[in-house]
């Protein structure tokens, strides 16, 4: 058991190594079956999904947004079509 060969605590997608957003998702799934513990109202699956998306795809999304007008175009179009 080599305890010396460590890894960085902050992962490349700015998450906590050993306690990533995936682990939160897994735990939330378990505790929908085993309802014990006080978790301050729970994480709310919508928030977990949002953070999961931002951790995993956030960087790519920003990259695309910065490099092309595509996202800006989509956002503008989306807002333009929204009923006011």
């Amino acid at each position: 058991m080599n305890n010396e060969c460590g890894k960085k605590i902050t992962t490349a997608d700015h998450d906590i190594r050993g306690h990533s957003i995936w682990r939160i998702l897994r735990q939330d799934m378990i505790f929908r079956v085993l309802p014990f513990g006080l978790f301050g109202g729970g994480p709310n699956l919508k928030f977990v999904a949002k953070m999961l998306f931002l951790h995993v795809f956030g960087k790519a999304g920003i990259w695309l947004y910065m490099r092309s007008g595509l996202f800006r175009h989509i956002v503008r179009k989306f807002h333009a079509n929204k009923p006011r």
């Binding site: 058991m1 305890n3 010396e4 060969c5 460590g6 890894k7 960085k8 605590i9 902050t10 997608d13 700015h14 906590i16 190594r17 050993g18 306690h19 682990r23 939160i24 735990q27 378990i30 505790f31 085993l34 014990f36 513990g37 006080l38 978790f39 301050g40 109202g41 729970g42 994480p43 709310n44 928030f47 949002k50 953070m51 931002l54 951790h55 956030g58 960087k59 920003i62 990259w63 910065m66 490099r67």
Partner: protein, 687 residues
């Protein structure tokens, strides 16, 4: 001719600067979000920490100013200064020393404001500094630029004057790498309007054709310098934007759900740039789990101690050493501007205190039964070992009650008979000779303890707090019983990380005990999961010094602390253990350095961390990874109350826990963790 190029990765930008360096004599950098980055997404959040500090100072001088009210006043005064500057200069700038002096003048009066300004400025700069760190790639670049003989400038549009910005740059590790610092707060001419560029050019007599500027804002650091004839490179770092987006999102959901508040604090605590280097798994456990848990505990102790008017806080050896270090790290930051109780480290152990506790009240049956809580203890010899007694003088008394020193008194052992237990109880409760001998033998240790406690100022305070990891509060029990005969004994408020059920505690108006993370008197299932692995918490937090064996009187009528000898087999095992767990403690200390500023800015109570701590506990203790159990489970645990004989097979079976299971079971048995979790839930709900 000036040019403007935008980069999305810092490495590419740095490579380009190195390539272009020959064309320029002067390279200037924007400061915030370029040379220095903040751990938080919104710098305005830092202002609330200063508002809390000013509010605390105001309360200390009898003025009632809530932090929100202070912040509103600051915003108002700052806006007024900006409007005033806008009438005279091209930019609506403000200077921190000027507007903060006005704010403090309105709160504390004109005569006090100058003295207050220095304190408040130092606090604001220290909080800013805690949240700032230099980008490694730029630091390396600055060193290289200096070696190439280039002139390096730092230019910022900021309300802090250049002297303050220079202090922040120096503290971030850029000392000696920047020739001049310019701030719009000094000249009221900012980069954003373009007014700063000709001013700096004139002041330093620069050739704009040989000047390169680097920054993050496409207008202030891009278009404006280009208009002034300066070449510009703009960094719109995708990685940084991603990090800030995540921090912002955690901040938003933390407002809506308490669950995420602790996660937000941990996001602000995460190591970045040069701090984020490969660490061992043990360090990671210290930083990610044990650190936040213990910091929240100490944070809670500080909150309670100040609310209860406690004058001294005693951290009990040996777990108390690291708890006291955490106190010293986080309490002055979180409670800046408030008067904290004095903190002390008290050398105690159950063994040393148990012997001293019987001098005035004798040995109660309740105390005697504590001996048999560890399943390895069996007979009266163990009672003598635990209470530091010599068995010889008790032999005739035992004989009178039909007992012997070897008669089994614990149900975990062969030969146990309930009648023996009753005889033992009768002897302890009704035999005056037995109690007289107990008091006689305990008196010297008690006198030495009194001298030690007097030397630590224990009796000079009306209220004291004692702090320990857990579990039954036996140290506090013995401390209270050893001192309550004195008229000047203080009211003791005990604080444990986990206060477990299992043995009655002598609660009294002058002897209170509460658990932060779990208290058996309150509903809290997740906190009780720490009882899965009590040894783990003791081992990882224990100070690296031998355990205390006894308080011994010396010839001068004082005391001597008797520690376990260094060459003792147990002491050597403990030493090996402590050396092994040193990286965990290193991680805990690193977490404490980040916890204080993060909590100071967010303004959360310790209790608001609990939902997130529960999540961490369930994952790390109830559903641990096999590898984590492997590296965190060590065999050298010494219970100073327990005898060295092996426990019976019955006791072994009863004490089997998830963390004692063989590695192959943890790895290959599906549902093992869920089984133990449910077993614990059933036991806990029934008890």
């Amino acid at each position: 001719m000036s040019t403007l190029t935008t980069y999305h990765k810092i490495d590419q930008l740095v490579a380009k600067i190195r390539e272009m360096a020959g064309d320029f004599d002067v390279v200037s950098f924007d400061v915030f979000d370029t040379l220095l980055i903040r751990r938080i997404h919104n710098p305005d959040l830092l202002k609330m920490a200063t508002a809390r500090y000013i509010s605390n100072l105001a309360r200390a001088s009898g003025e009632n100013w809530r932090p929100e009210k202070v912040q509103r006043l600051r915003d108002k005064v700052e806006a007024m200064h900006r409007r005033r500057a806008g009438r005279k200069f091209p930019d609506h700038e403000a200077s921190y020393p000027l507007f903060m002096a006005d704010v403090l003048g309105l709160i504390f009066g004109q005569e006090k404001k100058d003295r207050m300004l220095e304190d408040v400025t130092n606090f604001e700069l220290s909080i800013e500094s805690d949240f700032l760190l230099a980008r490694v790639a730029f630091k390396d670049l600055l060193i290289w630029l200096k070696s190439q003989g280039k002139r390096v400038l730092a230019i910022s549009d900021m309300y802090l004057p250049a002297t303050h910005i220079k202090a922040l740059l120096d503290k971030a590790g850029l000392e000696g790498l920047i020739d001049e610092v310019f701030s719009s707060a000094d000249s009221m001419a900012a980069k954003a309007s373009g007014a700063a560029w000709p001013l700096i050019r004139k002041k330093l007599d620069l050739n704009t054709a040989r000047w390169l500027h680097v920054g993050d804002n496409p207008i202030s650091d891009g278009s404006r310098p280009c208009e002034a004839g300066i070449s510009a490179l703009v960094l719109q770092d995708v990685g940084e934007m991603h990090r800030k987006l995540l921090a912002k999102s955690y901040h938003e959901i933390a407002v809506k759900r308490p669950y995420w508040r602790g996660r937000l604090v941990q996001q602000y605590m995460l190591p970045m740039e040069s701090e984020n280097i490969p660490r061992s798994d043990l360090y990671r456990h210290g930083f990610v789990y044990f650190g936040p848990l213990l910091c929240a505990f100490v944070h809670h102790v500080a909150e309670r101690a100040m609310a209860e008017g406690v004058e001294r806080v005693y951290f009990l050896s040996r777990e108390g050493e690291i708890l006291r270090e955490i106190w010293k790290t986080i309490a002055p930051v979180i409670f800046a501007g408030k008067k904290l109780p004095e903190d002390h480290y008290l050398y105690v152990s159950r063994m040393a205190l148990a012997g001293a506790a019987c001098a005035h009240e004798g040995l109660s049956h309740e105390n005697a039964r504590i001996t048999f809580l560890p399943a390895t203890n069996r007979d009266f010899r163990d009672v003598c070992r635990v209470f530091n007694l010599t068995p010889g003088p008790f032999l005739p008394i035992l004989k009178r009650h039909g007992l012997d020193v070897d008669t089994p008194l614990s149900h975990w052992h062969d030969g146990w008979n309930p009648r023996n237990g009753l005889s033992f109880q009768r002897m302890v409760e009704h035999d005056a000779d037995f109690q007289a001998e107990i008091k006689k033998q305990s008196l010297p240790a008690n006198s030495a303890l009194q001298s030690y406690l007097e030397s630590e100022g224990f009796f000079s305070s009306g209220k004291v707090a004692v702090v320990d990891i857990g579990w039954l509060g036996n140290i506090q029990r013995f401390l209270y019983q050893a001192t309550r005969h004195r008229a000047d004994h203080p009211v003791i408020h005990g604080h444990l990380l986990v206060c477990a059920a299992g043995y009655p505690f002598p609660y009294a108006p002058d002897n209170q005990l509460e658990g932060f993370y779990h208290d058996h008197k309150k509903f809290g299932f997740t906190g009780s999961l720490l009882l899965y692995a009590q040894d783990l918490f003791e081992e990882t937090t224990r100070a690296n010094h031998p355990g205390l064996m006894a308080y011994s009187p010396n010839d001068a009528g004082g005391f001597e602390l008797v520690f376990r000898p260094d060459n003792d087999a147990c002491a050597l095992n403990e030493k090996t253990q402590s050396d092994y767990f040193a990286p965990v403690q290193e991680g805990i200390r690193a977490a404490a350095r980040r916890y204080g500023p993060a909590m100071s800015v967010m303004g959360y109570d310790a209790r608001e961390m609990k939902p997130w701590l529960n999540v961490l506990t369930v994952n790390h203790i109830a559903y641990p990874r096999t590898r984590d159990v492997e590296i965190l489970t060590r065999i050298h645990h010494l219970d100073d109350f327990a005898a060295s004989r092996p426990p019976s097979s019955m006791a072994k079976k009863a004490l089997r826990r998830l963390w004692n299971r063989p590695v192959w079971q943890l790895r290959f048995l599906p549902g093992l963790r869920a089984y133990h979790y449910l077993k614990h839930a059933v036991y806990w709900l029934r008890s």
